[in-house]
Amino acid sequence: MTRLANLFRELRSYPSAVAGVSVIVIMVIIAIYAMVTIPYSEAVRLWRGGDNVWLETPRNARPAWINNFRREKLPESIIMKTTEDPSLKTVMDLGGGLATSDMLFEFDYYYDAFPSEISMFFTAQFKSARPNVSIKWVTPDGREIRLTDLTVRQSESYRISQDSAVSRRLGGVLPEKGLFADPNDPSKVNKGTYQVVVEGLVFEEGSTLDGSLIVYGQVHGLAGTDHRRRDIMVALLWGTPVALAFGLLAAVGSSLTTMTLAAAAVWFGGWIDYAIRRINEIVMILPLLPILIMVGLFYSRSIWAILGVVILLSIFGSGILTYRSMFLQVKQSGYIEAARAYGASNARIIFRYMVPKVIPVLIPQFVAQVPNYVFLEATLAVLGLGDPVLPTWGKLLNDAYTSGALFNGHYYWVLEPAFLLVVTGLGFAMLGFALDRIFNPRLRGL
């Protein structure tokens, strides 16, 4: 324990180590937060659920904080629901089962840009006669624009933006532009209070009608949304534990196995040493990425299968030779001889006497290796070999790439996961370098 405390005391004297540790701690906190607030099944449902999960978010929206840096403010989504705010709805019984169910959605719109979409959703309860609605748009300057008349099924959506009749009535412009445009200058937004008036009529006793209006903005949340309306934040959050777990497991798995193999080779010597060295030479020249691509294509794209292959292939490499040379020295130590003299078994000598001696050398290398594996996972995902269910940073980049994010100007979509990848890599690298200096005092002067 005192050694650990000493290590931390020493780490504090390296600013880069402090920065690296802070980054890693923040990452771990984010990872825990993500896993607690969004359970695994929920994350998969959110990411794979499709359009029904993301009814209320705009498509390809930028992060909301972008407005702080713009003179022209981009709109946020306006969501009004009669189920949540019953005052929007007035019900009047006309007798004989007939009743009006009028709704008035009134909202202020002072943004400088047009919304990205406008939709209305209705839900109704009835036995056989479907309720009727007629919808009207009232602009701040008092113009009334009739939108449509609908008979409502149990669940009905009316996408105003896609209603070509409205578009025609507005003179051929898109409804989300035409409905908000200044009559004098159609390129500008007519700022003020808008109303959507819905006159509903139900025909049965006990029949109800509820509606909601969503004016989709151009910005959403902290991270924005992608081409399928998904909140990118979900993938950024869930990508953190996935990246950390992948990086750490791959680094721990491969370096510990490498060390154990090297120790076994040295301890047993003879043909075991020979075999391990020859296998190592063969595996060293196998290309990692093409093999991973083949595994992804023909076997499984599960992140755990890929992790297994990565560990298997990373065990071998120059590391095994480096450790071997260290162990050759350790093998001659008096304490190993003493351990044999009091009857220690081969396994005990390898794991309790040889490996612990080399672990201090391993730790900095191991920490510096973590980002390699984080990047590898992202690389595979960008190549389309990411895990099919889990949202990860690499998959975000892959989605952004395939839907032409940069071409369409959706920079945030690429920059956010890239930023997290770089920061993670930087955090581990800075800690690794500092640890290297602590464990290898010769580097301190540099």
């Binding site: 003493a338 351990a339 220690a344």
Partner: protein, 341 residues
């Protein structure tokens, strides 16, 4: 002097039982050329025979490379003998299976030359002492504590609680060697093999450590093999002294007899080379044999010392290997000079 205390206890040799009997022991190391071609053998031990009795301290002296350490390690089972037998309490330990070897090793303690190297740097004192017990099936916590307490008291590492959480690098050289002795004693062995236990220590603590070893030996009636190249320390220690040269034992004698009158020319030369703080040394000339220790791959024919020996008998020493001649009651020498006796 502990020696004085011992003299009364010593029984005649024929009444005592040998705890260790080594018969015609050979340990050869194969030397290869290009990884697979056999180039020859290094004959590190070439026909060593002796007996060690219960409670006896035996010193083995000789220069570097004469096979002293190989003898120790072969007895410990760290090297496998090429030929010959080692009987420990009557059983041949060169033919044991894995489990029996483990039991044998528990009965033999090992004290190494470099105390710092002999202690795993990443283990605490407590862990170091617990390891042999864990390996040899002493898992009861109270028993472990009792033994740790006992051995640390015996080697005078006190207060015990202060030492238990320490790492080897926090101890002084003398304390480290005490810990090594404690570790060797924790399995309550019958035989201790001490391979130059004090040669890496400060002169100031050497005698202390040797007296400690001697005391432990009396208290437990231990047999000790004490290997050294430092003749100035053997007088503190042993009942018998063996002198080794070129992978063979060339002289066996009681300490008293050997210190008074070494027989073999090599042993004589070895004693000549001992540095005593005596001003008279300035005026005397010491005869030190010229030349180098023999190659153990191609040892000289006949007596291995003959190329350096001033009393070499031509035609005999360089042809025939000298057998062991008994010169007095307690002194044997493998030298043709004593062929008459």
């Amino acid at each position: 002097m502990p020696n004085a205390a011992l003299k009364g206890q010593q029984k005649p040799a024929e009444e005592r039982t040998p705890i260790l009997a080594v018969e015609n022991l050979h340990t050869w190391f194969e030397v290869r050329r290009m990884g697979f071609l056999k180039a020859g053998d290094v004959r590190a031990l070439d026909g060593v025979t002796f007996e060690l009795y219960e409670g006896e301290a035996l010193s083995i002296v000789g220069e570097s490379g004469c096979g002293k350490s190989t003898l120790a390690k072969t007895i410990l089972g760290l090297h496998h003998p090429t030929k010959g037998k080692i009987y420990f309490q009557g059983t041949d330990v060169t033919q044991l299976d894995k489990e029996q070897t483990k039991q044998y090793r528990a009965k033999v303690g090992y004290i190494q030359q470099d105390p710092y190297g002999a202690l795993p740097p990443f283990m605490t004192v407590e862990r170091i002492l617990r390891e042999p017990m864990l390996i040899n099936g002493i898992t009861d916590k109270d028993e472990q504590k009792r033994r740790i307490r006992q051995v640390l008291e015996e080697v005078k590492l006190a207060p015990i609680e202060d030492f238990l959480p320490k790492f080897p690098h926090m101890l002084s050289g003398g304390q480290q060697q005490r810990l090594v002795i404690a570790r060797a004693m924790i399995l309550e062995p019958k035989l201790l093999v001490a391979d130059e236990p004090v040669s890496m220590l400060d002169a100031s603590v050497r005698v202390e450590i040797l007296q400690l070893l001697r005391k432990i030996q009396y208290d437990h009636n231990l047999a000790i093999i004490y290997i050294t190249h430092d003749l100035s320390t053997v007088r503190y220690f042993s009942e018998r002294i063996f002198s080794m040269y070129g992978a063979k034992i060339i002289e066996k004698a009681s300490t008293k007899a050997l210190l008074k009158n070494p027989l073999h020319p090599y042993t004589k030369a070895l004693f000549e080379a001992t540095s005593d703080p005596d001003a008279e040394n300035l005026k005397t000339f010491k005869e030190v044999p010229a030349g180098e220790p023999p190659s153990l791959m191609n040892p000289p024919s006949g007596c291995r010392f003959h190329p350096r020996c001033s009393k070499m008998i031509p035609g005999l020493c360089d042809r025939e290997i000298p057998p062991e001649f008994q010169v007095t009651d307690d002194q044997f020498a493998a030298c043709w000079l004593y062929r008459e006796s």
